[in-house]
């Protein structure tokens, strides 16, 4: 880390500490926001689970707690001082920023073995990427609200940071941790393998085909995930109950608490006989992009990961602002394609509008009683629309950038897709 990045990190830590301590009611206020805390990440539910766990009861009784058992083990070892908890979350953000700085330093976002962008000079330096993550209001709010998605994000970023250095084993271990915490990162395994393989130094690549490399990493991933599962089995006193209460909840959506995603309203309105079918459709929808993106963007696996994170921040079963914050921070590595994006202003203003109107409509619905669920759902639709446009616009820009790199004479020309 260079000096500037270091300053940025220090400033971010101070800002978070100030927010935690100077406004004592702020953490609880934000923890209760449905946009930040979902049933599978909420800090309040974590505390509930911790209480049951420390009192010798099964934390999964009562259907409130849906988070991984290792989190329980981790938080019981911490002193119960809230400052320590704040520091853990701040540390997690710092680690994420550190990973981002590493990723930015590696330059993988502009040049991979197969593709070097012609605009590589206009990327942001690592410290600016760190700023884009650490001082993003969404990241800050997520950190203050203390959902456990923070740890998932850290694990994902660590995995990517290891991946861009060619440390395949370390990358999939971190990815196994992320998947263990919140399931959906498992989708990142194929692009992560590609990323790690592409980043291998040429000397190490000799005699190693992508197939065998992928087989090894997949095996490591499976073993690691199984190990984590076994560990959890031990922690919860030899019961597999946690599987249904954590991953089962991700997959089957029994808890319909509102969030920024598209699922809750849809499944509230759904007739029970169609529920299974649409659960399959919705889950499949998340996975369906994987193969296509890996093939089409084979030259830039990091961008595949970024895009998949963006897609899952829209379509996963319990998305939150923290997921979008992760996507936006990874997108800041692609500063060089911003000039090619067409709807930046539209997306920014729509996201801002949704950010303001969401809490307003939620207030009208829940507190004032003068609105109803449709108000809030409409805004989550707008939010998802904005993120969708952003994701597709970024894909367009990256493809355009690849194309212009291949055919420099086409720069600045209008293209028509047929």
């Amino acid at each position: 880390m260079d000096r500037r990045s270091f300053t940025v990190v220090i400033a971010a830590v101070i800002l978070r500490l100030v927010l935690f301590t100077a406004f004592p009611s702020l953490p609880n206020l934000l923890t209760n926001r449905v946009e930040l805390s979902t049933p599978v990440t909420s800090f309040k539910r974590l505390q509930e689970g911790l209480f049951l766990y420390t009192h010798g009861l099964s934390p999964y009784d009562g259907g409130v707690f849906h988070q991984a058992p290792l989190l329980l083990a981790f938080f019981t070892t911490l002193p119960s001082n809230p400052i320590v908890v704040y520091l853990v979350y701040i540390l997690s953000d710092v680690l994420s920023a550190y990973s981002l700085i590493q990723i930015a330093t590696s330059g993988v976002s502009v040049s991979t073995p197969y593709h070097t962008s012609s605009r590589k000079s206009s990327t942001w330096p690592p410290w600016a990427v760190a700023v884009a993550f650490l001082f993003n209001p969404f990241s800050i709010a997520t950190c203050i609200a203390r959902p456990t998605i923070v740890f998932t994000n850290t694990a994902i970023l660590t995995a990517i940071a290891k991946g861009v250095k060619g440390h395949g084993i370390a990358a999939v271990l971190a990815l196994a941790m992320a998947s263990y915490l919140s399931l959906y990162p498992v989708l990142l395994l194929p692009p992560m393998v590609l990323l790690a393989y592409d980043s291998l130094p040429a000397a190490k690549k000799v005699g190693r085909s992508l197939g065998s490399f992928a087989a090894v990493l997949t095996a490591v991933f499976t073993v690691a995930a199984a190990g984590l599962g076994a560990l959890s089995w031990g922690i919860t006193g030899g019961s597999w109950e946690f599987l249904a209460s954590t991953y089962g909840v991700h997959l089957l959506l029994p808890d319909l608490t509102p969030n920024v995603g598209l699922w809750w309203y849809f499944f509230i309105e759904m007739f029970d006989s169609f529920r299974e079918f649409f659960l399959c459709v919705f889950q499949l929808h998340l996975a369906v992009y994987l193969a296509g993106l890996c093939l089409r963007l084979r030259k830039q696996p990091l961008f595949v990961i970024t895009t998949l994170l963006g897609i899952s921040s829209i379509f996963k079963s319990y998305p939150s602002i923290g997921d979008t914050a992760l996507y936006l921070s990874l997108l800041s590595l692609y500063r060089h394609i911003f000039p090619l994006m067409r709807y930046t202003f539209f997306v920014t203003s729509t996201l801002l509008y949704a950010t303001l109107l969401g809490p307003a409509f939620y207030y009208l619905w829940i507190y004032a009683g003068s609105g109803n669920a449709n108000f809030f759902y409409a805004i989550t639709l707008v939010w998802s629309l904005a993120v969708t446009v952003l994701v597709s616009d970024a894909i367009f820009a990256v493809l355009r950038d690849e194309w212009e790199t291949e055919r420099p004479e086409m720069k600045g020309k209008e293209i028509v897709q047929i």
Partner: protein, 617 residues
């Protein structure tokens, strides 16, 4: 792509200011059309369970003598106990309530704001429903001192007499709470906060006795011992929230239909139900809603999602306490019928006569159009700032041959110069976003200074502080502009972007606000609408700038504050005191909107005008 390119290449950009102007014009006209018969609707009762005025009322006869006895007590108490406050009052009333066999509780409260202390003691009694299970309650309330500062002698006496009378009926399915608060502003707030355990002990003490969820509140305000002429229904809640329209309709229908009392709204003592009076009623309602202050003791209940109104006896007439008592009786019989919380009718409406209203679907577009005008202007500015060099472009038209050469030169000097015959549309220029964004955000944070100041100063200093602030405020845009241009050497593009972001934020805040407090959003939108048309490009005649500056100075938040003071005929310090009190006690957030949304937008507009003098292009 194609839409955006066509936006850039055509002359649509030129028309955007016109579109903005049209939005404002249509928005205001829309509002002015609302009082017409074609746009407003007659009120109707949505909740069938209410059955207003379908019962015989029996309050009267000997109850009138009881009432008069209580009124004597209250008047005597009011004369004697005025010095040492509400303790004596609460004790005496407690005795009366207990004599009926009701359970009684008392509550002390004390608020300190802006150097003033507001203390008192509330007293209340709970009539347990003979046919209920104490899960729901209704509140009949009278403030010892009404909003005008008069002793509410008949109001309090009426609550006492009704408590004695209603106790005898066996048909109540909801508990009835009889509440006498020691004042109209702090007392009800302290009581309702404590009822929901959201008070701050020890300043506000907890309630010793509670009942179920409150379904409706009726406040009686009758400060004279003479007959009254009409019944004034006050319904505005804090922060512009309103009670369900069904409650008002029920009250109007019972009062005018069953009892034959004329009802009035918004202090429109005479109302001919024609366009002009309707409009005035509506506008008065909007001002009250926009200010978001408590208009009566009922206002404090509304943020808790409790529907509440105040019935004020007004004027000299032949209606007496029995008529009012029977109105309340009938109203409570209707409320008693409620099967669930008020939900059928509208929560967002503008009343323009006691039986005429418009609902949110009809009136919201006017505020939204005004908010949208800012967004359109912002989009226009964004597109404009994306053109390679729009100033040069404009020159081209006047001077074609030479201009195009210049343009080509510019393009070639650019980083990604395309070949000469190409449209440069695709090559988006990088905009210098950071500086402009930082400036806009910084100005918005600056708003917290006056917010803090005016909420925390001592009331003695209010007037002085206000004058000092007004003077500073006049100079501030120019000073800020001077500092900004000195330290950052911004170009006209920076100013365009600053205006773009400022308008974007303003439009966003106002449209979000329009869903929460329509009137406030509309009023601020109208006041801020000239900002759309400020031309951020320098190189203009200084006289134009001076005219703009003068116009802006006439539309500051401080001017609006003076306007409010004139409208109410109260000194400035009183208004500021009320605002600080509202912030601390009622949880009113009008100030936040004024200082953190409107004022920053105004400052930025001022900076833009000042910039047109300062910056040499």
């Amino acid at each position: 792509m194609s839409i955006l390119t066509s936006l850039r290449s055509t002359r649509i950009l030129k028309f955007l200011p016109l579109v903005s102007a049209l939005c404002i014009l249509v928005g205001i006209t829309w509002l002015l059309l609302l009082p017409l018969d074609d746009y407003s609707r007659r009120t109707y009762i949505s909740e069938n369970a209410l059955l207003p005025g379908q019962v015989h009322t029996y309050f009267g006869g000997s109850e009138q003598d009881v009432f008069r006895a209580y009124r004597h007590e209250v008047t005597a108490l009011g004369k004697n106990a005025s010095a040492d406050g509400s303790g004596v009052m609460a004790e005496k009333i407690r005795g009366i309530f207990e004599a009926f066999g009701l359970k009684v509780g008392k509550q002390k409260f004390e608020y300190t704001t802006a150097g003033g202390v507001y203390a008192g003691e509330n007293v209340y009694a709970v009539l347990q429903a003979p046919r209920g299970d104490a899960t729901e309650a209704l509140v009949l309330c009278a403030a010892w001192i009404n909003t005008e500062g008069e002793l509410n002698e008949s109001g309090v006496a009426l609550v006492l007499a009704l408590a004695r009378y209603l106790k005898r009926w066996s048909l109540w399915s909801k508990d009835i709470i009889f509440l006498i608060t020691s004042d109209s502003r702090a007392g009800p707030q302290a009581w309702v906060d404590a009822y929901h355990d959201l008070h701050t002990p020890p300043a506000v003490t907890s309630l010793p006795l509670k009942s179920g969820a409150i379904q409706g509140v009726v406040v009686v305000d009758y400060p004279t011992s003479r007959g009254f002429e009409s019944l004034h229904i006050v319904y505005d809640g804090i922060n512009g929230q309103l009670p369900n329209l069904d409650l008002i309709n029920t009250a109007v229908r019972i009062a005018s239909g069953q009892m034959g009392i004329r009802t009035t709204l918004q202090e429109m003592w005479s109302h001919d139900n024609e366009y002009k009076d309707r409009l005035r009623t509506m506008l008065r309602g909007m001002v009250n809603q926009g200010l978001g202050h408590a208009s009566g003791p009922h206002s404090s209940f509304i943020p808790y999602h409790i529907d509440a109104i105040t019935l004020q006896a007004y004027g000299d007439g032949w209606h007496d306490e029995v008529t009012l008592g029977r109105t309340v009786e009938s109203l409570f019989r209707s409320l008693n019928n409620l099967l669930e919380h008020f939900h059928q009718s509208f929560f967002f409406y503008l009343l323009m006569a006691e039986r005429r209203f418009v609902s949110i679907g009809t009136y919201l577009p006017s505020a939204m159009l005004i908010a949208v005008n800012f967004t359109i202007a912002a989009i226009g500015l964004w597109l404009k700032s994306g053109r390679l060099n729009d100033k040069e472009d404009e020159d081209n038209k006047s001077n074609d041959g030479k201009g195009s050469e210049e343009k080509e030169g510019l393009l070639k000097s650019g980083e990604k110069a395309p070949s000469a015959d190409e449209q440069p549309d695709l090559v988006s220029e990088e905009r210098p976003l950071l500086l402009s964004m930082a400036f806009v955000v910084a100005i918005h944070f600056l708003g917290f200074i006056p917010l803090y100041l005016f909420n925390n100063l001592d009331e003695k200093n209010f007037t002085r502080a206000f004058y000092v602030f007004t003077l500073l405020n006049i100079a501030l845009p120019s000073v800020l502009c001077a500092i900004f241009t000195k330290s950052f050497a911004p170009t006209s593009l920076h100013f365009t972007l600053i205006k773009c972001f400022s308008l974007l934020l303003l439009g966003m805040f106002l449209s979000a606000l329009a869903t929460l407090n329509f009137s406030l959003s509309f009023l601020i939108g109208v006041f801020a609408s000239p900002i759309t048309f400020i031309n951020p490009t320098p190189k203009r005649k200084w006289t134009v700038g001076a005219a703009w500056m003068a116009l802006l100075q006439g539309l500051t938040p401080t001017t609006a504050l003076v306007g409010v003071a004139l409208y109410w005929g109260e000194p400035l310090s009183e208004i500021l005191k009320e605002a600080a009190f509202g912030w601390r006690v009622w949880g009113m957030w009008t100030q936040v909107v004024v200082w953190c949304v409107w004022w920053p937008a105004w400052i930025i507009a001022g900076v833009l005008v000042a910039g047109s003098w300062a910056v040499e292009a």
